[in-house]
């Protein structure tokens, strides 16, 4: 299945946007880890801005950067959101409240507990009524999102914004499911090669054992293995290098995705 990347968005530890991070991925600048910084999106109405948790901010920041880089209209672009866990802080508060005798949970916390919270806030922020889906595939959530997004581009023939994000759980869930940092990324995928296309992707599902691509830098590699959404890093590195490469992403239970990246000149 083919798709063309027109825009990339990124918000991660020491990775402040795609433009600022390209030289790190290309090996021209050292990677140094620093806390992820994302502001509450100005695009959200005041009430929604107050209610938005970190995962929503990650998704909005990355998605907005990718759409802006591609020069696309967010209101008319379909979206695929993918996350291994959703809003982990919010969930923890609900679980703590349910373990008390009163069991009082706030209505806002409850509606923010759905896995498609980021998609809901995005649609409100962007006034977007286009189709949207929200996926989970545990550690392989990025690969699942890429497969779904590219299949939409290939079958529906319309552009799709893929937005992947993850945020750590507080304790005690952090101990049983550690996620090592805040990470959000987005790709604007289009069916045809426009003048904005950065690279062409050919994505294939491979039901077999393969060796997943890694990142050369030890810091980035720790990020890749520490945060499910950061499993995209070898693909971002290939895009930053601007070379023809094949990236292997681990998918579910021993299966993989083979992603052939061809830069557009």
């Amino acid at each position: 299945m083919f798709a063309f990347i027109e825009g990339v968005g990124l918000a991660g530890p020491g990775l402040r946007g795609w433009q600022a991070s390209r030289s790190i991925f290309a090996g021209k600048q050292a990677y140094s880890r620093a806390p992820t910084t994302v502001a509450a999106s100005e695009l959200l109405p005041a009430a929604e801005r107050r209610r938005a948790g970190v995962p929503v901010k990650l998704a909005l920041a990355a998605g907005h950067e990718a759409i802006a880089n591609a020069g696309r209209d967010a209101a008319a672009t379909a979206t695929v959101f993918t996350s291994s866990s959703g809003d982990c802080d919010n969930l923890h508060y609900i679980l703590e409240a349910l373990a008390t005798p009163e069991r009082q949970i706030s209505p806002t916390r409850f509606h923010n507990s759905v896995h498609n919270t980021a998609a809901g806030y995005w649609s409100i922020a962007m006034q977007c009524r286009a189709p949207s889906t929200s996926l989970c595939c545990h550690d392989a959530s990025f690969a699942a999102g890429l497969l779904e997004a590219v299949s939409q581009v290939a079958v529906a023939g319309t552009p799709v914004a893929l937005i992947a994000y993850d945020h750590p759980y507080p304790e005690p869930l952090n101990s049983v499911r550690p996620i090592h940092g805040d990470f959000g990324m987005a790709l604007l995928l289009a069916p045809q090669a426009t003048e904005r296309a950065i690279a062409a992707l050919d994505v294939a599902f491979m039901p077999q054992e393969m060796e997943a691509s890694r990142t050369a830098d030890p810091g980035l590699e720790a990020l890749r293995t520490g945060v499910p959404a950061a499993r995209c890093l070898p693909l971002l590195a290939a895009l930053a290098r601007g070379s023809r490469e094949t990236v292997i992403l681990e998918y579910v239970a021993g299966t993989h995705l083979r992603v052939a990246v061809t830069p557009c000149l």
Partner: protein, 397 residues
């Protein structure tokens, strides 16, 4: 889109286990809702509970996945010859050519709710027997189903609240059209848990008695649980299946509010229009609309408005949530299967517990079941986050 054969399907919810039980309940207009007696929940509300799950652990080789949600999945898979049909499809196409696209909203969160009561008083740690990945994680359901059925194709969970298990039909249709797989197991499960019971209560959206969709005095929803599964294949490879084809699917967002539908039902209308467009049909081609019809004041009013705008006041429609309760993430697959039963049995379901239709409603709402030829059905599923999905089933053209 290319129609897909829904070559086998199975269902379980508070009406009973299997297609026969649900079809009988529809004919008799029976409801499975009863006063809430789940766990230690003390809420004055009715629920649609599946009895006996406590005594039905999951298959021992998958014991790590044992939780209420996966127990319901197993129960559903083993009904109506579903597991056997998947096994034949796996032999026909190869296990790596059969995808698994599941929907759930809360997965096995009940396990975590219970574990939070058993935290170490000194360290706060969760009990050592708690298994996050196999129970709580949203992907747990698809992981379990894929392993249970021995499939090796692409898999993921769609979790878009109450539209989840309608939307998976779209994922499967795209994956099959793109050639990533030849067949797909779709559907999903939601099971009773404290998060949704107390959560909907906090929003003042739960009814005290059994829910009464489209009733003038409706006062909220009744939460239910259940599972439903469907096997999708290309029509041309399964002409003998004689199944009800999936004709179209439409997905949209409200872009309005996280938990309140757009008052004019704009997102809902757009999903229904897209579903008809992909099916290459006009509103007049639809014989019956299975509504989302949660029995909240806002959902039913907005949905009535959008259905009336699109179909006018002639097309019969009803919500079956007075019978099943709102199965949340499993509502889509449940009502798609109920729609298939409507076509097969020539029976448009009535609306259990609805006494007097809200005079403000303008669509042709059925309180009593109606015997009639049903060729094509449109089924609606809407969720939090303004996530809408409509599915069209039946004979093409």
């Amino acid at each position: 889109m290319q129609p897909l054969a829904i070559s086998r399907y199975s269902i379980v919810n508070c009406l009973g286990a299997g297609l026969r039980a649900v079809a009988d309940a529809m004919r008799e207009k029976r409801s499975g809702l009863a006063p809430c007696d789940f766990e230690t929940v003390k809420l004055d509300t009715h629920i649609g509970r599946v009895r006996g799950l406590e005594a039905l652990p999951v298959r021992s080789d998958l014991g790590a996945y044992d939780c209420r949600n996966n127990r319901l999945a197993q129960l559903g898979i083993e009904l109506d010859g579903f597991a056997g049909a998947v096994s034949q499809a796996s032999d026909r196409y190869g296990p790596a050519r059969v995808g698994v696209f599941m929907g759930t909203s809360t997965s096995g969160i009940l396990e975590t709710e219970l574990a939070y009561r058993r935290r170490d008083p000194r360290t706060g740690a969760l009990p050592p027997d708690y298994r996050y990945t196999q129970t709580h994680n949203t992907f747990s359901l698809a992981d379990f189903v894929r392993r249970y059925l021995g499939l090796q194709g692409p898999a993921f969970v769609v979790s878009s609240a109450c539209s989840s298990t309608a939307k998976v039909f779209g994922n499967a249709a795209r994956m099959i059209a793109a050639g990533v797989c030849d067949a797909a197991v779709v559907g999903g499960v939601d099971s009773l848990c404290l998060t949704t019971l107390y959560g909907f209560h906090s929003l003042e959206l739960t009814s005290r008695g059994p829910c009464r969709p489209f009733d003038a005095e409706r006062d909220g929803l009744s939460i239910g649980e259940g599972a439903g599964f469907a096997l999708l294949e290309r029509v041309e490879t399964r002409p003998e299946a004689g199944a009800i084809p999936l004709l179209g699917i439409g997905e949209s967002c409200d872009a309005y509010h996280m938990s309140t539908p757009h008052p004019d039902g704009l997102g809902a209308m757009s999903a229904m229009r897209l579903a008809l467009e992909t099916a290459n049909l006009a509103p007049a081609d639809i014989d019956y609309v299975n509504l989302h019809g949660t029995a909240t004041r806002t959902n039913d009013a907005a949905e009535d408005r959008s259905v009336w705008e699109l179909f006018g006041g002639g097309t019969p429609c009803s919500s079956t949530k007075g019978a099943t309760g709102h199965l949340l993430g499993a509502a889509g697959i449940t009502e798609i299967i109920i729609s298939i039963l409507a076509i097969e049995h020539g029976l448009m379901p009535g609306s259990a517990h609805t006494r007097r239709i809200d005079p403000a409603m303008r669509s042709n709402y059925l309180i009593e079941p109606r015997k009639a030829r049903v060729r094509r059905v449109l089924s609606n599923s809407f969720g939090f986050g303004g996530s809408n999905c409509s599915v069209v089933l039946g004979t093409a053209g």
